[in-house]
């Protein structure tokens, strides 16, 4: 199962490297979203307060675009149906696609945090820089796992329906609300927003980790029946 999952992840990343949809369209979209937030709010003290939330909001919006893309390559010429007919383990499809999606999300998040530094003036507190960085990285990893699993699950579900472009946000955004809340709170602690300290962030990482485990396990179990029949 793991071998096939790695094959599927490698295939998805190879398709992306060839088509450059994420690089040329999704990353600029995410960057424009960040700039638009900055123009709309236009007050440094407000931006300081809401920057962590804006980063994760931009991540959510970009997630929807990437998920649409990752399943479009499966449905353009009937490859998802071909995988079902070929008897490819649905759990391998789920894990493989989630791995590729997670990798793309990590690249996106790194860019968005860079944008937050540039546009919103965010920075790591100097009094506990190491702890802040560890919290930030752990938050990104756990939140990305949850987002990738939920995105893959609902992407697979929506791929079989007409109007999947509108169905996907409707399904996904409520489901990832815990990630939005937990990741925002954890990053606020990492960057010291409104006096928050690093130690306060770990409880949110715990929530993100629980969510990720539940999403990965639940997704792996549910993905087969969802895409079948």
């Amino acid at each position: 199962m793991i071998t096939v999952a790695c094959l599927i992840a490698a295939k998805d990343l190879r398709v992306e490297r060839r088509s450059k949809i994420v690089t040329n369209q999704v990353l600029p979209f995410a960057g424009i979203t960040m700039v638009s937030f900055a123009f709309a709010l236009d007050k440094q003290n407000v931006l300081d307060t809401v920057a962590p939330g804006l980063v994760w909001l931009a991540t959510m919006f970009s997630l929807l675009v990437i998920v649409q893309r990752t399943f479009a390559i499966e449905t353009d010429d009937g490859a998802l149906d071909a995988m079902r007919v070929a008897g490819v383990d649905p759990r391998a499809i789920f894990v493989g696609k989630a791995m590729a999606l997670g990798f793309q999300l990590l690249v996106l998040e790194a860019m968005l945090f860079g944008a937050a530094v540039i546009f919103y003036g965010e920075s790591i507190p100097s009094n506990n820089a190491f702890g802040s960085v560890v919290l930030l990285v752990t938050t990104m990893l756990s939140a990305t796992c949850g987002l990738a699993a939920v995105g893959t699950l609902y992407g697979g579900l929506a791929a079989g329906f007409k109007g999947s472009e509108t169905l996907l946000p409707l399904l996904t955004l409520p489901a990832v609300a815990p990630v939005l809340i937990g990741a925002t709170k954890a990053v606020e602690s990492a960057v010291g927003t409104s006096g928050a300290v690093v130690s306060e962030g770990w409880q949110w990482v715990g929530l993100l980790t629980l969510f990720a485990v539940a999403a990965v396990v639940g997704g792996a179990l549910a993905f087969g029946p969802l895409i079948d029949d």
Binding site: L7, I73, D77, V85
Partner: protein, 250 residues
């Protein structure tokens, strides 16, 4: 037509190194590949198949004839393990379609109106991907590409740039690479020019000679009829008349 052994039972596996034939079978009668008896399948509340009986031997090319909506595509999807059998008995390669539907799938290939290819990948990358999902070796993958005529210069061309006929052949190479023993083809000539159709027919004939079993649903009776070893009428989803063997259920 009927085998001396019960076609609706399962038994031990046999091995075969021919890439067209694959390595696994679960059939008591090695030459009996498809055996359906009074099969009923439902789409929603609509009985798409209502009492279908047919048997197909290894190496046969069987043409499914009938008007639109008669149940040809449904029959192919049922044989691919994508639809449940509501009633009746059905085995593919000895696997019971009622209880082992998932197990049938790795051994069959369904080629419908779409090719199941990744358009941004090359021919080689597509065949390698599908072959490696079943653990095919580099030798097997190269052999599949060679037999379908998509090796050489064509191998590194992106699928998006291929003609319709080349895409079909690439898709068939993927079936060979993943060791499909039963090929279920739905209107395989659609969208192909005369040269592409000739290429496809030659490919299917070669595959059948090597032991692949092929079911073709087509409206192009002249073209597909010349290719098929026999034909079967699908009538209103309610019965199948096996024209050569008189095993209708009407």
């Amino acid at each position: 037509m009927n085998a001396s052994l019960n076609p609706f039972s399962s038994a031990s596996a046999t091995a075969n190194d021919d890439p067209f034939v694959g390595n696994t079978s679960n059939n008591t009668e090695p030459d009996l590949v498809i055996a359906l008896k009074d099969v009923v399948a439902v789409l929603g509340n609509f009985p798409a198949l209502a009492g279908v009986s047919i048997t197909v031997q290894r190496g046969e090319i069987v043409l499914l004839k009938g008007p639109n909506g008669a149940g040809k595509t449904t029959l192919l999807r049922l044989c691919a393990g994508l639809l449940p059998v509501e009633r009746g008995a059905a085995t593919i390669l000895g696997f019971d379609l009622v209880t082992q539907r998932q197990l049938v799938r790795p051994h069959v290939g369904l080629l419908g109106h779409q090719n199941g290819l990744y358009l941004d990948l090359s021919v080689r990358e597509n065949v390698e991907f599908w072959g490696r999902t079943v653990g095919a070796s580099a030798h097997e993958i190269a052999g599949a590409m060679s037999r379908m005529g998509v090796s050489g210069r064509l191998a590194d061309v992106g699928v998006r740039k291929l003609s319709a006929g080349q895409k079909r052949r690439t898709s068939l190479a993927c079936l060979v690479a993943r060791r499909a023993q039963v090929w279920l083809l739905d209107e395989p000539h659609a969208g192909l020019d005369a040269a592409g159709r000739d290429e496809l027919d030659a490919t299917l004939g070669q595959a059948a000679n090597s032991g692949a079993t092929i079911l073709v649903a087509s409206h192009e009776l002249e073209r597909a009829g010349g290719l098929a070893t026999r034909s079967v009428d699908v009538v209103a989803g309610q019965a199948i008349t096996d024209s050569n063997e008189s095993q209708g259920t009407e």
